[in-house]
């Protein structure tokens, strides 16, 4: 880790001042000593920093996150004299306000959840990134973000990603609260603990569900609390791709050419071998013996059909990773496919081939025609009369909408036949009921747990038949600042914000998250070992560090402790 405290680096035009001997015990004058505020009298009203809005989830939605926001905002108000107000809103309102730039700070959890850094490096912070709602625009950074996409040499790409993190660390468009550690419980009387595979998605990963060994009858049907999949059983649906969505059934019912392994390295799945013949041509040979759930063989024709269908109809969920990146797809043999890329795109295997399910041509052609959805196959309905036919390790069984979704194991799967007989998503609407279902043995494992980690941990300790595993996902909880609105347009203020948040980080982790979290410095989680830069700079010393940075940048406080912009600058 590379700490940047009171003594530190020069970033852009802002000098992060070193310690000064000048102290200011009276709270007046122009002292710039560490933690001593630069207090001035008769500061003009137009320089006073007005109210800032911190858009947050509601306490009901995520208590610890809301409380963390409230803590940060209180520290802003009480210690720095910046009137930051926590504004809890429903999740859809939060998303909408973020997209419209209607915030000063906005906080939530986010992960690209695909093992590749591109979703963070490019989408979030490149000037043209689809998720850059913050106005972050740094020339060198833009070059790196665009460059890492084209760089197919992994080591060279890693270097660029590391440098990009360094800039993000210095510029601080994002300030991390923590890397969440999430606990998951399972019934160790019903499932052999040695067969459990945990990855960044906890237990709801295909490696776990195909390798779990039941130890009794109860464990043959794994009942879990995952919610109703109704919005995305059609793999081309708007919500078919995305970490915050319930895409587990789609991931389990279909095969993909590649999947991230438990260590998040992309590994061939339906692909047997692959080779880049040049920067924009990728040849893939598929495994032999694969069949769809209806018994038909999986061939290169199905892969070509799937990609052509996507490129012709442009389902919105796939425009980014398929339509814009793929020039054409052609069959080179019964099991051979050639992908011609529009330009070199390093994350193609992870973000394209790892995301596109192999659809059976004989089923989809008919479905699309029957339902008249030639222009929009993402609208083809899925239900018990028109079930999904895929080739993945689990089949579509029965679906009682909003109530129960049963997925029998596809025992004929060529290389990943599950050991269990079926997986059932049977959601309960309260956390207490979910916990009790684990205790009573109704649930075999928890796909998700949104309750208190400590409560889960304590329950597992009390119940002999339960065990717990935990993991740090790919994500982080962070606050993003709107750099198009003062004072966050000023890098010094952003760095001061980072120092403040770094200061309260231990409290957030230990008190609000019961210790279920790790200190965070970079947008890229250390889980992504290869891409995470442990030397990402960050600012420390909490409030004192923030005061020092603000003093040096020319900010001043009046006698009432209210922070004012540097001379010559005014704002909201």
């Amino acid at each position: 880790m590379r700490k940047m405290g009171a003594a530190g680096a020069a970033v852009g035009s802002v000098s992060i001042a070193g310690c000064s001997d000048q102290t200011n015990p009276d709270g007046g004058g122009e002292g710039t000593g560490t933690g001593s505020k630069n207090v001035e009298s008769d500061l003009p009203e137009e320089r006073k920093i007005g109210e800032k809005v911190h858009v947050s989830n509601t306490e009901r939605y995520y208590a610890a996150r809301y409380q963390a926001n409230a803590l940060v905002d209180k520290t802003f108000r009480d210690e720095l004299g910046v009137p930051v107000q926590t504004k809890p809103v429903e999740i859809t309102v939060l998303v909408s306000r973020e997209q419209e730039g209607d915030f000063h700070l906005v906080t939530y959890n986010w992960t690209a959840s695909n093992g590749d850094p591109d979703g963070i490096i490019y989408d979030r912070f490149h000037k043209n990134g689809s998720l850059n709602y913050y106005g972050f625009n740094n020339q060198r950074y833009n070059e790196l973000a665009a460059g890492q996409r084209r760089e197919t040499d992994e080591d060279a790409r890693q270097e660029m990603v590391h440098e990009a993190q360094k800039i993000l660390g210095e510029q601080r468009p994002e300030n991390q609260y923590l890397y969440n550690v999430t606990p998951y419980a399972f019934n160790s009387d019903a499932i052999d603990p040695d067969s459990i595979v945990v990855n960044d998605k906890g237990l709801r990963n295909i490696w776990n569900y195909t390798q779990m060994e039941p130890t009794n009858e109860n464990g043959r049907v794994v009942v879990t609390n995952n919610w109703d999949p109704s919005d995305q059983l059609n793999p081309l649906h708007l919500n078919a791709i995305g970490p915050s969505r319930n895409w587990t059934p789609t991931r389990f019912m279909h095969d993909f050419l590649f999947r991230p392994d438990p260590d998040l390295q992309m590994t061939p799945w339906a692909a047997k071998e692959y080779e880049y013949t040049d920067g924009t041509t990728l040849d893939v040979t598929m495994k032999e013996g694969m069949t769809f759930h209806d018994g038909e063989s999986v061939t290169a024709d199905d892969v070509v059909y799937t990609f052509n269908l996507i490129m012709e109809t442009e389902p919105p969920a796939y425009i980014n990773n398929v339509v814009q990146t793929t020039e054409s797809v052609e069959k080179t043999g019964e099991l051979g496919v050639r992908f011609n890329l529009t330009e070199a795109y390093a994350p193609y295997i992870a973000l394209t081939l790892g995301m596109v399910p192999i659809l059976p041509e004989h089923v989809w052609e008919q479905r699309i025609s029957e339902t008249g959805n030639e222009e929009a196959p993402w609208k083809v309905p899925v239900n018990d009369d028109m079930p999904i036919v895929g080739s993945g390790p689990f089949e579509y069984g029965t679906w009682d909408q909003a109530s129960r979704f049963r997925m029998p194991a596809f025992k004929e799967h060529a290389f990943a036949a599950p050991n269990i007989d079926a997986r059932v998503q049977n959601p309960l609407s309260t956390r207490d009921a979910e916990m009790e279902a684990m205790i009573q043995g109704d649930y075999i494992l928890l796909d998700y747990w949104f309750g208190s980690p400590r409560q889960l941990s304590n329950t597992v300790d009390e119940q002999d038949h339960l065990s717990m595993v935990q993991n740090s996902g790919q994500g982080r909880q962070a606050t993003w600042v709107n750099m198009e609105r003062p004072p966050f347009d000023d890098v010094a203020f952003r760095q001061a914000t980072n120092a403040l948040i770094t200061g309260v980080q231990p409290t957030i982790i230990e008190e609000l998250y019961d210790g279920f979290g790790n200190e965070a410095i970079s947008p890229i989680n250390p889980t992504l070992k290869f891409w995470h830069n442990p030397d990402t700079p960050y600012f420390e010393n909490g409030v004192e560090g923030a005061i020092t940075i603000l003093n040096d940048a020319g900010y001043a406080w009046n006698e009432d402790g209210e922070l004012h912009y540097p001379e010559g600058k005014t704002g909201e």
Partner: protein
């Protein structure tokens, strides 16, 4: 007796009311901050893709045009397609509607049957210590928040005693041959017990109190004295003469309650993980899934308005003295 002109006027009024509600709902949901795109946008969707989705949903059209299209489709009983689920609203709502009605109708039928009977009995024994004790219990139960009762019931009978399921509508392994068997199976009835019991403890209070109060008035009527003078049994006086006249306001309450049953009991549906329309209405509102939210609330409003109308009609048959719309 029902005056035909009155009937036609009431019917017209009903149609106007539904039209007004549909209009209000249309604009109300569009005033809610957030918007549908926030709930359905995939995180990596580009601006071009976003625009494509907006156009596909028709949200790029001016509001007045969207409104006219909505009303036109409504006239053809087409409620549209859910933004979030991608399914037709009709299919979506009907699925949840049956679940909710199975729960609420069972609860209301039991509550009103028991409430009317107990209300009549309490009215008949007015002034006794039994009546006072009965009233205390009724008022206590009626004042208890139904979700709290639900939580206690769930805790005792499901969490602690393991006698009933923790929630939901059907067991993990339950299989059904068709939609009818789904709602008549032992498995379903087993899941129905606790939520219905909870709802009954709450809903029995209203018909009981109404019945009791009405009966007290009826019992002071001359024809009751006449019935006594004729030497009729208490039971016959109570149920053949008094209760029949006292039940009228309860009929109105029942009709309105049936209307509101469509909206379900969101809190009870949540406590017992019941996949009903009430929860779906809340979710649709939060997601700004306009078609589903509008469809569900419109269904609720239409049934409430219709049931009011039918309650008026039912009056004329239960009490020949009542004439709607004058002579």
């Amino acid at each position: 007796m029902v005056n035909k002109r009155y009937l036609a006027r009431r019917f017209l009024l009903m149609v106007i009311s539904i039209f007004t509600v549909a209009t209000i709902l249309f604009f109300l949901f569009r005033m809610v901050p957030g918007g549908p795109m926030s709930a359905i946008m995939s995180p990596r969707m580009t601006e071009a893709a976003r625009q494509r989705v907006i156009e596909n949903f028709g949200l790029n059209e001016p509001l007045w045009k969207q409104y006219l299209l909505y009303m036109w489709q409504l006239l053809h009983l087409n409620l549209g397609q859910s933004f979030y689920y991608g399914q037709t609203v009709k299919t979506l709502i009907l699925d949840r509607f049956y679940n909710t009605m199975a729960l609420m109708l069972t609860a209301f039928l039991i509550s009103y049957t028991v409430g009317i009977y107990l209300g009549a009995q309490l009215g008949w024994i007015r002034g006794t210590s039994k009546e006072r004790a009965g009233m205390l219990v009724v008022l206590l139960v009626r004042s208890t928040p139904v979700f709290w009762t639900g939580m206690i019931v769930l805790y005792v009978f499901a969490f602690k005693l393991n006698l009933f399921p923790l929630g939901g509508m059907r067991g993990v392994g339950a299989q059904y041959s068709g939609p009818v068997s789904k709602f008549l199976s032992v498995d379903f009835l087993y899941h129905l017990v606790l939520p219905v019991f909870t709802l009954c403890t709450y809903y029995t209070g209203l018909p009981l109190l109404l019945m009791r109060n009405n009966l007290l008035e009826v019992l002071s009527e001359d024809y009751i004295d006449t019935a006594r003078a004729k030497g009729l049994t208490n039971r016959r006086i109570l149920f053949r003469h008094a209760a029949r006249n006292a039940v009228l306001p309860v009929v109105t309450a029942f009709a309105i309650a049936i209307g509101f049953a469509v909206g379900g009991q969101v809190l009870i549906e949540t406590v017992f993980s019941w996949p009903g329309l009430g929860r779906e209405m809340v979710k649709a509102s939060l997601r700004s899934d306009y078609p589903v939210a509008q469809g569900a609330f419109l269904l609720l409003s239409t049934i409430v308005i219709s049931m009011n109308f039918f309650a008026d009609l039912a009056y004329t048959y239960l009490d020949p003295r009542v004439r709607l719309g004058g002579t």
